[in-house]
Point group: C2
């Protein structure tokens, strides 16, 4: 038996395991210390009332023979696919419910979607980005091209026509930088993909955080995007579904390569390799898209965004360069005194007992940055920020300068 050798090309230390390890190590040496984490991108507010009600009702249905449901439709119940289509309609994106594929979260589809394409496809990914794009490609042995971003281009890259590729991962608002692509930039990417006969995998997991009306929340707001893009969305951050698991993947009938509709391939693939999503979850997700649901989830999003304001203004007052969009749940901060991200992580952990996410975990271009998240509670966020502020900046930080 020979193993898939690509697994041994993965980096040994996954970002979050290394963070846990370092924290536990410090904790052992300094018992009794309490940490506040501004590190993890996980929601902390409870599910909204409308969603809870819908799920309670669905559980109840499963308890009676008349209303019990076994296997659901493989690609999601029509009621949910229709609710999602209506959600797109509000932004003038017209989709058939059959172009929408319900999933158990964006993460899985992001990794699985490349299976539709030739296994030797070249993949372009932005640096820094969510590490799963790269890792999934390593397991599948795809060639990966990294397109670097920096504060010079506000972490928003434009396509480079000298680069040839088949698959392009874009994420807006970007994780970890929080950078949001404007219409003009996305138009350039759509043009590039069409010229290169490539497909864009557009990760819109954070779209609900965009409040600026001029910024696109879906790539399908761009003309011709349906001909070159697949959008993968999630309710994880939108509605606190990280522990519930629901996402959706949109593939238009217009996306055709080699005379084949890509959504038909996906339909086939999912029929064989997946079994549909939990009914109770789908009723909860339907409720997210109701008028009530939309109102209720917005209050959680505002709460998280207020934390972002607190974090960014505090860091700014310390003279730290911060990249904080008002359309994202993350603050992307430059490490002071030329520290690298693990050094800055260590000092904040050890001196302020606050956990942040080192930018290096998202790619080489992140090595001078850390990501701070707005998902922690308001009280804890304030406390964490005050602890960072209380560090004697020059003294503590300059040790590494």
């Amino acid at each position: 038996m020979k193993l898939n050798q690509n697994f041994f090309r993965l980096e040994d230390d996954y970002l979050f395991s290394k963070i846990t390890e370092k924290t536990e190590d410090f904790s052992k040496k300094n018992p009794g210390v309490d940490f506040i984490s501004l590190g993890i991108g996980d929601t902390t507010l409870p599910l909204c009332e409308t969603v809870i009600r819908a799920m309670q009702k669905a559980v109840d249905e499963m308890s009676r023979k008349k209303t019990y449901r076994g296997y659901g439709p493989e690609h999601g119940y029509f009621f949910l696919r229709e609710a999602i289509a209506n959600y797109y309609k509000k932004r003038q994106v017209s989709l058939s419910p059959f172009e929408i594929f319900v999933s158990d979260g964006a993460g899985r589809d992001i990794a699985d979607i490349t299976e539709l394409f030739d296994r030797k496809s070249k993949v372009l990914t932005i640096d820094p980005a969510y590490p799963a794009y790269k890792d999934a490609c390593i397991i599948d042995n795809n060639e990966i091209i990294f397109l670097k971003t920096s504060e010079k281009n506000n972490f928003i890259p434009v396509p480079d026509y000298d680069i040839d590729c088949d698959i392009i991962y874009l994420c807006s608002p970007n994780n970890p930088t929080g950078a949001v692509y404007d219409k003009k930039t996305l138009e350039k990417w759509v043009d590039y993909a069409l010229k290169k006969n490539a497909v864009i995998i557009f990760d819109s997991a954070y779209e609900a955080f965009i409040s600026d009306e001029d910024l696109p929340r879906s790539i399908f707001e761009i003309e011709n995007a349906k001909k070159c893009a697949i959008e993968i969305a999630s309710l994880s951050k939108t509605a606190g579904f990280t522990g519930i698991r629901c996402g959706y993947t949109v593939i238009s009938d217009e996306l055709v390569f080699q005379d084949h509709k890509i959504n038909e391939l996906w339909r086939k693939r999912q029929s064989i390799k997946s079994n549909g999503l939990n009914y109770i979850t789908q009723r909860g997700a339907e409720a997210v898209f109701s008028r009530e649901g939309q109102k209720q989830i917005k209050s959680a999003i505002c709460y998280y965004k207020k934390n972002i304001k607190v974090i960014s203004s505090s860091l700014y007052s310390l003279g730290i360069w911060v990249f904080a969009s008002s359309n994202s749940p993350y603050v992307w901060a430059k490490c002071p005194h030329n520290m690298n991200s693990w050094e800055f992580f260590d000092i904040i952990l050890q001196k302020a007992h606050v956990i942040v996410t080192p930018g290096e975990g998202f790619g080489k271009s992140g090595k001078s940055f850390v990501r701070l998240s707005g998902f922690t509670g308001k009280k804890e966020t304030l406390e964490a920020v005050n602890k960072i502020k209380n560090l004697k900046l020059t003294k503590d930080f300059s040790r590494f300068a």
Copy 2:
């Protein structure tokens, strides 16, 4: 852009779509006809009380900040992994909770697991079998070897040492035949896998239907199986979870190839390509394994098995050869008068308005058989069986003789 050409090697008509198509076609030509389906392998009884209570409580927890849960552990909550380990303990199989990986159902893991092995691995599958084994291998371009079974070996094959392979799919109780592997046969397979340095993927989705104490419900009841087998199980049929989605994959620390623990590879793969399972589902699943839960699910299993008795004795009285195990939810019946399975399907559909599953959909060796399922309601099962009995056997069936 080049597509994954393997998709075009998949058969166009998936079994269940063809059944639906034929039924709809007949329905259009004969409006007002009501069908009874003994075709689909889907549960119909509601979830048991203990499971419902556990899920209601979990939904409620998600509504409060203090008890809300975001991302869960990637491979399942410890409480569930421990409950599953205890379930195995009852059958003298000792497992650590960390050798158990919670999933959203067996189907996905059955397809994904081959990714751990070299992409050129040779796959052995039993004919007839659940079609997803074969289809997943086609998408992944694995070479597939079919090992035929028939009534001569009671649909239980023994290994053929002339065949070399790397991955072996076994399913017991088998879908569609209902055949259950005894200990001696499984020992032969374990010996064969060890000699060939191959891995057995043991699909035990129907293990809860085994009531005969002498028959193994897990491959790990066989000595040395931990060194060569992965078990993939599901609560779909066990506890009516087809619409809830929960399964688990067991990979022992003892399963090592090329000096690598296979469960470590799987842990890595799932961390990158999946995001854990719904919390509410995991609480429901935990309840399945409680004393109360085990008692309650047994009453549903008995109900389905009583249907199996009704179906098999009725077909037998018609002179039809039936293979009906008392440890499976399926009856595997030979088509009379040398009909093939689609011919017999057609006649039962058109004359008795009953839907069965043509054996051909499960492989070439199934082409003279149909599968009838015990999952339909008691009343409907009786009615369906009476309609089949009322066919003037010689007259109607002989048309095809």
